[in-house]
Symmetry: C2
DNA sequence: TTGAAAGCGCTAACAA
DNA sequence: TTGTTAGCGCTTTCAA
């Protein structure tokens, strides 16, 4: 029952686009059939006799017809649009996960017949943007990417029965008594990533591996931290005095690493973000230490920064292309069967090894 | 004549959102007026008597009404959507101009009552994405960002009389006999940026300043290069042997700078991109030279990479927020008066000075 | 397998 | 100042 886009024939000389695009009626007249038959040719081609179908398709090709979106949307009560909120660009950090994800989402959505509608967050109330789009039925569903902030969006959207898929597990929105969330979600196993990073450093012979992460109230931060402790403890190594929890800024990473180098004297750092890892690189630069050769550093996110900074920053890479694929397929399931909420999807990151380790 | 979004009252207890959102008719019934009066209350509030308006607004607030987008779009033949093609994320480079621009565009569009619809480029024909959206009247206009590649999009869109504004001057699409383009455009003066960068280095006492730019067939590259030569020649300094034209990759920048350091022995580099500048930083790292202290480096784009790499990469910054503002206002002008094409807008970049110079 | 009728929710034009 | 009528272009009945 796929909603086929009209096939644009190559053999037919296409008429120049008139001021107002052709409608179903124009195609019907040219093909000598009724409007419904043209509609069927597009949406249910199996219903037509082959010769009728061919005649209609020729008319479609010649006229360059494509169904008017607004009319179709009005009639079918869909928009083929996925809404995603995008915050202001984060300058002065290495954070670009969302940008990379947007690219993947756009590509994946296209294959599913959807476009991505971007909207800005209102400075004050984070929910107004969602509300406006929802009330006006401007989008079919949302992709929510900032569940981790403890934002009320997920709960708010659930209450409205608004279709959405979260990129980020529902840290505290599980159904009572189950491990099932009320909404579909896709996430990347951060702890597995940092465990991978730590194991990599252990293999390289490091045994004093420090952690620089986010403040304790960050669920993601604590999750990523747990991968480091798990790997260390698994080797019987202590972590006392080797951890630091700070803001996600270059300056904080710089300070934390300077402090740790003076106290616990680690030979390697695992960081909760590339931003923090870049802070470590600053400290090494200040002290004339060489990343990789003197002190190993691993970041998280595999940002452009990690890829291009000399001598290359080893970093945990989230499979954002796969995330997008799972998000879109969850979205399709959600729109097809609104009542059914499938299980969450947890993906495993990889490690991009570069000069810094 | 502004198309006001309905005011959401705080004083009125909002009814829970029903399964199907309220329509104009629901509001009309509740307010005891006709549907047209409700429509006027939203689109032409001045036409209503204050007490009627208040009654309607109360009903709107209580019901949480917002006009159905599809119906409005169908009737007004607009979509309040701006289409923008987004390519795949460029990994392994420092190029993120488009991402930063998208953020700015989304924010600016919102103020003008538009949303941004992102679509992916078909690998083969770059025009199919535009074509599909145009034929189905899914967007009101496009923002085209890759005119510089010599892509046929601008000409193609012009031929279709599709409304669009280009980010990037029309390098070879000027009207015959004039310096006017056939379409509105906004661009940043690259030559002014590199001239600024070169002048900055000259002030710092450098006189052997090298250029690493793109291949000669890149109009943007040659434009940026001209700012460097202008500044050098303006001080009576020769540029012979100080320039290199390569691919826009880290490796190319690395090789070119290594070669130049061995031949012309420059004390500073001006680069056509942050990617190339990062290549220079790689070479300096290889040779134990300190950016800023031993050799100065300036990039172009003020990417995240420039901002966070130690000791900070001085870089030419494009005023993308302003670009977005001018693009959106050109778009509004275009949609209001399709026949009139205003003059292009050229903006001046600034220099973000950091440790590398 | 094809066609006729109805209506999605809104706004423009006109009438009262 | 408010209400009535018509119709944007499409798809979903239902009838032929």
């Amino acid at each position: 029952m796929s909603r086929n886009e009209p096939v644009v024939g190559r053999a037919y000389p296409r008429l120049p686009m008139p001021v107002t695009p052709p409608t179903l009626a124009d195609v019907a007249e040219r093909a000598g059939v009724s409007r419904q038959t043209v509609s069927n040719a597009i949406n249910n081609p199996d219903l037509l006799r082959p010769d009728t179908l061919a005649r209609v398709q020729e008319a479609i090709a010649v006229l360059g017809y494509s169904p008017n979106r607004a009319a179709r949307n009005l009639r079918t009560r869909t928009s083929q649009l996925i809404g995603m909120r995008i915050g202001p660009a984060q300058e002065g950090t290495a954070n670009a996960t969302m940008d990379r994800f947007v690219h993947s989402l756009v590509e994946t959505s296209r294959e599913a017949g959807y476009h991505v509608l971007l909207f800005a967050g209102d400075g004050g109330d984070p929910v107004v943007g969602y509300d406006a789009l929802l009330r006006s039925t401007a989008v079919d569903a949302f992709v929510v990417t900032d569940t981790y902030l403890g934002n009320p969006q997920a709960a708010w959207l659930e209450e409205r029965r608004a279709p959405f898929v979260a990129f980020g597990r529902p840290w505290d929105a599980l159904r009572p008594g189950t491990d099932q969330a009320r909404h579909p979600w896709v996430d990347v196993d951060g702890a597995a990533g940092t465990e991978l990073a730590t194991a990599h450093l252990l293999e390289k012979g490091h045994d004093r591996i420090a952690w620089i992460g986010w403040r304790k109230d960050s669920r993601i931060g604590e999750d990523r931290r747990s991968g480091w402790t798990r790997a260390m403890h698994g080797r019987g190594l202590a972590t006392t005095g080797l951890a630091s929890r700070v803001e996600d800024t270059i300056a904080s990473g710089r300070e934390a690493s300077a402090h740790l180098l003076g106290s616990a004297r680690p030979s390697a750092f695992v960081c909760a973000s590339d931003t923090l890892a870049m802070g470590v690189l600053h400290t090494l630069g200040d002290r004339g230490l060489r990343p990789g050769a003197d002190v190993a550093v691993v970041g998280f996110d595999d940002s452009q920064v990690a890829q291009v900074v000399p001598p290359g920053l080893t970093s945990v890479r989230q499979p954002l292309e796969d995330v997008a694929v799972h998000v879109v397929s969850a979205l399709e399931g959600l729109l097809a069967h609104p009542a059914v909420v499938g299980p969450g999807v947890m993906l495993t990151p990889t490690l991009a090894v570069r000069g810094s380790s």
